[in-house]
């Protein structure tokens, strides 16, 4: 342990801690900007300057390791003036059109400016003379360089968490900027649209592309029937933007709020998550059968899940030779979209051309996914608009709804029923667990041999998880699987995905079935979720997801009554011709660089 004093208070912290860590333990607040709990130390914004007695210059608290006998002061006049100038200099290169900015009142730079209560600044405004560009090319997010303070959180996110490095620091000095390869539009580079950078940007330089106005227009159009679906991870995070602590389940209140906003049908992506399990589970078993019984050499393992559009774009760019290994199942969002304008329209006797299909997702990549040309199997654009969790919170505030006082209510029927298996899709390992709950039962006629259906080996925040399920007591149809060990792996965050993909490319993967989610923690840590995020926040959301599962009466996808009904009334059976037409898709090889 290292002993030091901060503002004359003694503290002991483990060696390797930073001055910032030590100050936190003493409840001393040091402002930060480039620092982020998920990322490596950068120390480039200089907002966290503190004074060390005996040192010649001020030091950056976030980057300075503690040393024995350090005497730190965080609140001297020298510190105050230095921090003030640092923030003023950042502001001199930041377009401060705060009242018109999408991040107004959610901007970390704005909060700091507020803290220092600037009047007139002594620095020149350099923004006007600089030819800044706004890149609106991605359907998922907007990159506005005039608001960028070059803290490089986005660069570190893209490289450390996602192994993409779609953006890097280019040029130097006054010309320094965060740039894609040769400043190409973000829609034309290797970017997965995951939005993890958006989630970590402290200013309005990276924000989601919002479709709030288009959704309001649809809601107020008496001619339109506006259908909304909500992803599993939204219900455990939305509360954070509406006054709750992380980890609060607000499912029922959210449903009530959606009705009050004016959506005509409030339905659940969880329904199509259950449907995904039926389709994907059947696909896995069929692949196993083709490989083991029919000796089909074209079938290769592992099979990869296909729910995460960020992951899909990653493999399309980086490992296109393994596209045949991807499940052909569309994501739950897109399955829902294809059914809303076919099955749902027929059942409810609504002209599908009058349906506007909106989804609320923890995700920015879903905006891109909805725009993919393949996603028009209903004969229309299957999903018209995708809103993030954050955008839904904005709409709820715009409508003047007092969220905390709402009475909870239930989703509409037909495509609103769901099970616990569907809700855990929102956490890393959840799709695997849901698939195993159903597939094991199809093969053996018995429930998975885990206490209370909780397949704990696939749960948790470890980057790459493995689980082996021994299949015993197969029914006659599945005798060829008797005694087999189904080897599975789960990765979340694309850096972890890449670890598995390297193994696969080297031919060293022992796995049959692999679940991959592009975002850290899975969808609960998605790029469209409330800001801020951290491991602690993601863990709270994850806990809430599993508690939501435990509170469901039905916890296996194949028991979902709406799913049973759609197979008997419309689709026939899993992987039927009709199911393939509407619920499955194909992938595109993309440029690697």
């Amino acid at each position: 342990m290292i002993n030091l004093t901060i503002n004359d208070q003694k503290i002991s912290v483990p060696a390797g801690s930073t001055v910032l860590d030590a100050a936190k333990k003493l409840n001393i607040n040091i402002p930060t900007l480039c620092n982020h709990p998920d990322l490596c130390i950068a120390g480039n914004c200089r907002v966290c300057l503190v004074e060390q007695k005996g040192a010649r210059t001020l030091i950056a608290a976030c980057a300075m390791p503690v040393a024995e006998g350090m005497d730190i002061h965080t609140n001297t006049l020298k510190v105050r003036n230095a921090r003030k100038h640092v923030v003023e200099l950042l502001l001199s290169e930041h377009r401060s059109d705060c009242t018109k900015c999408y991040k107004n009142q959610k901007c970390e730079l704005q909060s700091l400016a507020n803290e220092f209560a600037f009047g007139d600044t002594i620095f020149l405004d350099l923004v006007e003379d600089h030819p800044y560009e706004i890149d609106r090319s991605s359907p998922s997010f907007i990159k506005d360089d005039s608001k960028c303070i070059r803290c490089q959180r986005c660069v570190r996110t893209c490289s450390e968490l996602q192994y993409i490095s779609a953006i890097a620091v280019a040029n130097k000095g006054a010309h320094q900027k965060i740039s894609s390869f040769h400043d190409r539009p973000m829609s034309h580079v290797v970017c997965t649209n995951c939005g993890q950078c958006v989630n970590r940007c402290p200013t309005g330089a990276l924000v989601e592309k919002t479709y709030i106005d288009q959704v309001w227009d649809a809601i107020y159009d008496p001619d339109k029937h506006v259908v909304v679906q909500t992803a599993p991870a939204v219900r455990v995070a939305l509360g954070e933007d509406l006054g709750y602590d992380p980890g609060e389940r607000v499912t029922g209140k959210m449903v009530t709020a959606l009705r009050q906003l004016g959506f005509d049908s409030v339905l659940d992506t969880d329904f199509s998550a259950d449907l995904t399990i039926m389709e994907e589970g059947t696909e896995l078993l069929t692949r196993l059968k083709k490989a083991l019984v029919d000796g089909d050499k074209k079938i290769s393992f592992p099979m990869f899940t296909s729910c995460s559009p960020g992951w899909i774009k990653f493999i399309e760019h980086k490992y296109p030779e393994f596209l045949p290994n991807l499940s052909t199942c569309k994501s739950p969002q897109q399955m829902f979209g294809a059914l809303a304008k076919t099955y749902f329209a027929q059942k409810r006797k609504i002209d599908p051309s009058k349906i506007v299909s909106v989804s609320v997702m923890p995700c920015t990549a879903k905006k891109y996914e909805a725009d993919r040309p393949e996603m028009r199997d209903s004969g229309y654009k299957d999903i018209d608009y995708v809103l993030t969790t954050r955008e839904l919170a904005v709409m709820i505030k715009q409508a003047g709804i007092n969220f905390k006082n709402l009475e909870p209510s239930h989703y509409d029927s037909i495509m609103g029923d769901s099970t616990g298996a569907a809700v855990i899709f929102g956490a890393t390992g959840g799709v695997m667990e849901a698939a195993l709950r159903t597939a094991y039962e199809i093969v053996t006629g018995r429930e998975v041999p885990f206490n209370n259906l909780n397949i704990t080996p696939v749960r948790g925040m470890e980057g790459v998880k493995e689980a082996t399920i021994k299949i015993e007591g197969c029914t006659d149809d599945w005798k060829f699987l008797e005694g087999a060990e189904l080897k599975t792996a789960i990765a979340h965050g694309l850096t972890n995905a890449n670890k598995i993909m390297r193994l696969v490319r080297q031919g060293k993967s022992p796995y049959h079935f692999v679940e991959i989610m592009a975002c850290p923690g899975g969808c609960i840590g998605g790029g469209g979720q409330p800001i801020p995020t951290s491991m602690e926040i993601r863990k709270n959301r994850m806990k809430a997801i599993y508690s939501e599962d435990e509170h469901m009466i039905l916890r296996k996808s194949h028991e979902n009554p709406d799913v049973i009904a759609i197979y008997s009334d419309f689709l026939g059976k899993p992987n039927s011709h009709k199911a393939h037409e509407l619920l499955h898709t194909h992938y595109v090889e993309r440029e690697q660089y």
């Binding site: 993409i164 490095s165 890097a168 280019a170 130097k172 740039s179 390869f181 690697q592 660089y593």
Partner: protein, 154 residues
């Protein structure tokens, strides 16, 4: 045109495929071909298994690693104070007149580019220019014309 793939392979054999090999590889390309084409940067990214944006980020940081089209001979005129006082302006005018290009431009035959540079350490013999790696000092208009003529006939 040159086979960028072959050159990059050659350079990675020589310098290795680690992140720290990036600089000598980029320098090696520029040494042979004046500037980094998009293809060249992508090729380097592939060989080192890093992103093209990272290669571009590094290249764009360094003035001598050009990512814009440059001629076979890059003339860099020192723009710092001593050279300015000793007639840098006249040198630039002379070269502009002779090559019919402005500072920052490249001749249409891709033979010459004219750029300014920060101090190159020849203040005691100002004004000075660099043509690729070679310094020329104590210049006059007449001298610079002769020097460039020499390059034209190379």
């Amino acid at each position: 045109m040159y086979q960028v793939g072959t050159l990059v392979k050659e350079l990675t054999e020589k310098h290795g495929r680690l992140r720290e090999s990036l600089m000598p590889i980029l320098q090696g390309i520029v040494e042979r071909h004046s500037y980094l084409t998009d293809d060249a940067m992508v090729e380097v990214a592939k060989e080192l298994d890093i992103s093209a944006a990272e290669v571009y980020g590094t290249a764009s940081f360094y003035t001598f690693l050009d990512t814009k089209v440059r001629g076979k001979y890059i003339i860099r005129v020192c723009k710092t104070i001593t050279c300015s006082m000793k007639g840098k302006g006249e040198i630039i005018e002379t070269i502009e007149d002779m090559l019919k290009i402005k500072v920052g431009e490249t001749t249409s035959d891709r033979m010459f580019s004219l750029l300014e540079t920060n101090c190159i350490g020849w203040c005691h013999k100002a004004p000075a220019i660099l043509i690729n790696d070679l310094p020329y000092t104590e210049l006059t208009s007449e001298k610079v014309v002769e020097i460039i003529k020499g390059y034209m006939h190379k």
